[in-house]
Symmetry: C2
Subunit: 359 residues, 2 copies
């Protein structure tokens, strides 16, 4: 931080306070008292003037403008890329550290991309005054994969995602619920081609390119080179940057599934050293931010509906490849609105304040 | 076949005629007239005596007994493993060729495991009089993977499945519909841990170890060595046998998703020769039994709800790895009750009869 005034508790701006992630951010702030002084909710002009609950009190949401960052120590941004691209530098110019959950700055060489359990050491060097928060799919696996990397040396990784509707924001949640209302309990739907599509109509697709109820959709994000989706490239490029392995081989297929919240990922990872399932399990059991649930004989493994609303990265189905002693398969789940977005951002903000209070 | 009587059309026994796959088998037989003489529906004693529609006529289902195989040329089995294990050899001893869709004989060295588009050449050598039909998950991808293998030489393969409820039979379909009836349209469900589980209760799980509505469940089958599921080992071992690559490296994570019918699989495959996406697409466009839908810029890729009720293996999201020119990623869908079960079995039966009629 640029200031260090004894006796003052730091001011936090929450930009995007009325959105899906911003709402979770405010609820996390309720659960973590005693750190922040003023908490200032900020949103676009459209949502400004509304009140939101902040630590039990009604607080009026301010509209984005340069002066709302006056006196702010940390500004967390949960807004679309183009809003962050414009306003995070403004917050930084006003002396705040901007912690940005959009894709606008993640691959910028001058912006650290931080997951506290993996690379908190990257926080102090932030020449632009901006720290980026990774994509929610990357975050649903990287804490566990990072722990295994430290122990065994990651060489390559395959990832297939099972991504929740809320990854596409409130519009995604609404579309899935609306579709389920149409198809739920209608036993003939989903058995012949296009039934779901016909039942919900084109308007019912919401932010998804195909029906999501009683379906899975192998697409998230925008089209990139070679037919890859932006989400798949994010998993690859962000994993490389967070883990500090510029030439890491990462191949992902990102698929949306009819789940409201919590992303899951099947990961098959190869390490430079051999890894048994027990060795991997021991590392994961001791890794901060990771919870292991792995007893398939008792029907125990993480599922999205069981872990939604919790903080850790959940790991199960830990298996060594029968064909390659260096390869381990895992099934991971993480709440995409908490660790996948608001929680990781807030953890970074808290580490910034920790520096400021004690240095 | 062991007989070749001019002028007689072959007799087909459908064992398991009242089950989920058997029902699809009878409907396929309606669509493919002109091949079979008598079609004899057979089931367990519990279902025997009922009538089923066979080519527009009501036919009484006969109970499994040695004499029901008298005069049968081909007997298709869509029954649990233990029923096939007992009765397929009985059918063979009566002179029929048994085409079995259970897991009882698939890895038997004396039983060919056949996908007509891939290894029809294995059909004539069947010392036990039994031909096995692969698992539905293997079948949802192997036609396309087999075509790429012939062109480029498959070396290793990762597969993550998105498996439909009907893969667990009628009980799976019923459980998912019942769960959707409970959670459908109830907007607060699925947002906090255990909501779905609480709403449906333990009885509502059906054949799945966790709730499937608004969830995904990383488990299918029974527990095998090293924490792998039987379904995951089937994908590995059956792919090796069908493709004739005994040491093929295959690593799969099998996950159930809230879809009624049609399995999907994300496959990342490495070949001995380099493969561009265009080269892979050309091979797949020309492969029998494969349909390509691959234009993400127009929102076009296969999804389970769009292809259910159709015969081909659908392929989209064809991408060359940016890190490895020998690796291609694909997203595949196949109706698990048709090509994944009844259709492939019937195709084998038809090839057997083709031999018998023209040799």
């Amino acid at each position: 931080m640029t200031s260090n005034e004894a006796g003052r508790r730091p001011t936090l701006a929450v930009v995007g306070a009325t959105g899906a992630v911003g709402t979770v951010m405010l609820s996390l702030l309720d659960e973590r008292p005693g750190i922040w002084g003023e908490i200032r909710p900020i949103a676009s002009a459209r949502s400004a003037g509304r009140t939101v609950r902040v630590r039990g009190a009604d607080v009026v949401v301010q509209a984005l403008a340069p002066e709302v960052f006056d006196g702010v120590d940390v500004a967390v941004f949960d807004v679309p890329d183009e809003v962050s691209a414009r306003w995070a530098p403004v917050a930084a110019a006003h002396g705040a550290v901007a912690v940005d959950n959009s894709g606008a700055f993640r691959m910028d060489a001058d912006v650290p991309l931080v997951v506290p359990e993996v690379n908190a050491d990257q926080i102090p060097t932030r020449p632009r005054g901006i720290i980026a928060n990774p994509n929610c799919t990357t975050l649903s696996m990287i804490v566990a994969v990072g722990a295994l990397h430290r122990a065994f040396g990651l060489e390559s990784m395959f990832a297939a995602s099972y991504q929740a509707a809320s990854g596409a924001g409130q519009a995604g949640i609404d579309a899935l619920y609306d579709q389920l209302t149409v198809v739920g309990g209608t036993r003939e739907l989903g058995r012949t081609a296009g039934d779901v599509r016909k039942a919900i109509g084109e308007d019912g697709l919401g932010p998804f390119p195909a029906p999501l109820a009683l379906n899975v959709v192998p697409w998230a994000g925008s089209l990139k080179d070679g037919g890859w989706s932006s989400e798949e490239f994010k998993v690859r490029n962000e994993s490389r940057k967070i883990l500090g392995i510029p030439d890491l081989r990462v191949s992902a297929t990102c698929v949306r599934v009819p789940v409201i919240t919590t992303h899951a990922v099947a990961v098959h990872a190869r390490f430079t050293r051999p890894v048994t399932a027990d060795e991997a399990r021991t590392v994961l059991l001791n890794a901060p931010g990771v919870a292991v649930v792995d007893d398939p004989s008792a029907g125990e493994f993480p599922t999205p509906a069981d872990v939604v609303g919790t903080d850790p990265t959940w790991v199960g189905r830990i298996r060594q490849s029968p064909d390659d002693p260096h390869e381990v398969a895992l099934f991971l789940c993480g709440d995409n609105l908490r660790k996948g977005a608001a929680l990781n951002t807030l953890q970074i903000a808290e580490l910034l304040v920790q520096d400021w209070l004690y240095l």
